[in-house]
Amino acid sequence: MRKLLILAALPALAVASPALAQVEGRVDIDGSVATRCLFTLPNATISLGELSLTSNGKLDAAKVNGRTATLSGWCNGAASTMTVTTTQLTTGTAAMTGFDNRVDYTAQATVNSVPASDSSLTAGAGAAATVGLFSGDITVLLSAAASPTGGIMVAGAYTGNVKVTLTPAL
């Protein structure tokens, strides 16, 4: 048993000796992935239909509250955020005393159970919510619909807008 161990050590020494004449080059390879957010479905429309009550001509809030739309997208940065900016529903016809030509509401966008919301009663975007990495649906929900004075709604076509902004961050 002892003889066999000595013989096995000799080949190992013979192999190591040629490496003393070699040089070694090395290529390091690196890259990066930028933080990005992208909407794969960037547009949707919520058509509310008739906004007024037939009984008294005032806003039928039930036509607005609970309505939803779905966008799709993704963010690849762990600190990515989402904000919502709402623009109230308006029509071009002026409102006399006792009438309203505007409908305010709140819009909430939700990604992976993380909500961000904004009310059209206040200017600008709502508070940013950290959504992190996600890929999938962004659900937009309307609520808290109201007209400024609770008056009779002026006849016409009404348009508004909800803007969802995804900001990438690491």
Partner: protein, 189 residues
């Protein structure tokens, strides 16, 4: 040494792409709706006007139409939510139920004036002009066009009760109707 420089170049090239791609993404949900043009008339108060005894019961006018006080009916909180509405009144004379032609000197119709005010600058009025046999009982009148969406209390006044030829009134129960219409003004072609 040449190998070392190449490695630096690779590393530097990777850095700018990290910064330039960091832009926000925006999604957009359009929200639209509509409000149909509509007019609503307040419920008339009172809904029925009972004039009571129409003929004079004594004196030189016994049997002829009595002096009947004006009556008013309120239609509160009437409104149209669009510009260009008009209020129309259609008055039908009070007619007794018996359709038979009355004898000479008698009448089975009582005319009156219905005036609806409060909607636009001018009132809407109609004066019925039924003949003594009760024919031609209905007359219509419209007011000025309301140029703006409006909400107002409309007051209907019934006045000027007369009979054709100031004849004697046929006995019986008389009934008439005033129809008030609030809607878009007719547009000329």
């Amino acid at each position: 040494m040449k190998q070392t420089l190449s490695l630096f170049a690779l590393a530097i090239a990777a850095v700018p792409s990290l910064a330039s791609a960091q832009t926000v993404a925006e999604g957009n949900v359009g929200v639209d709706g509509r409000v149909a043009p509509v007019c609503i008339l307040g419920d008339p108060d009172p809904a029925t006007v009972n004039l009571g005894q129409l003929s004079a019961a004594s004196g030189p006018r016994t049997g002829r139409v009595a002096t009947i006080a004006n009556r008013t009916v309120l239609l509160p909180a009437s409104h149209c939510n669009f510009a260009g509405s008009v209020l129309t009144v259609r008055a039908t004379a009070l007619i007794v139920g018996d359709p038979a032609a009355p004898q000479a000197g008698f009448t089975r119709a009582v005319n009156y004036t219905a005036t609806a005010s409060g909607w636009s600058g001018g009132a809407s009025a109609a004066t019925s002009a039924a003949l003594r046999d009760g024919s031609n009982a209905t007359t219509s009148g419209s007011g000025a066009i309301q140029p703006l969406p409006s909400r107002a209390d409309i007051t209907l006044t019934l006045s000027n009760f007369t009979t054709p030829g100031d004849g004697f009134l046929v006995a019986g129960n008389y009934s008439g109707t005033v129809v008030i219409t609030l809607g878009p003004a007719a547009v000329a072609n």
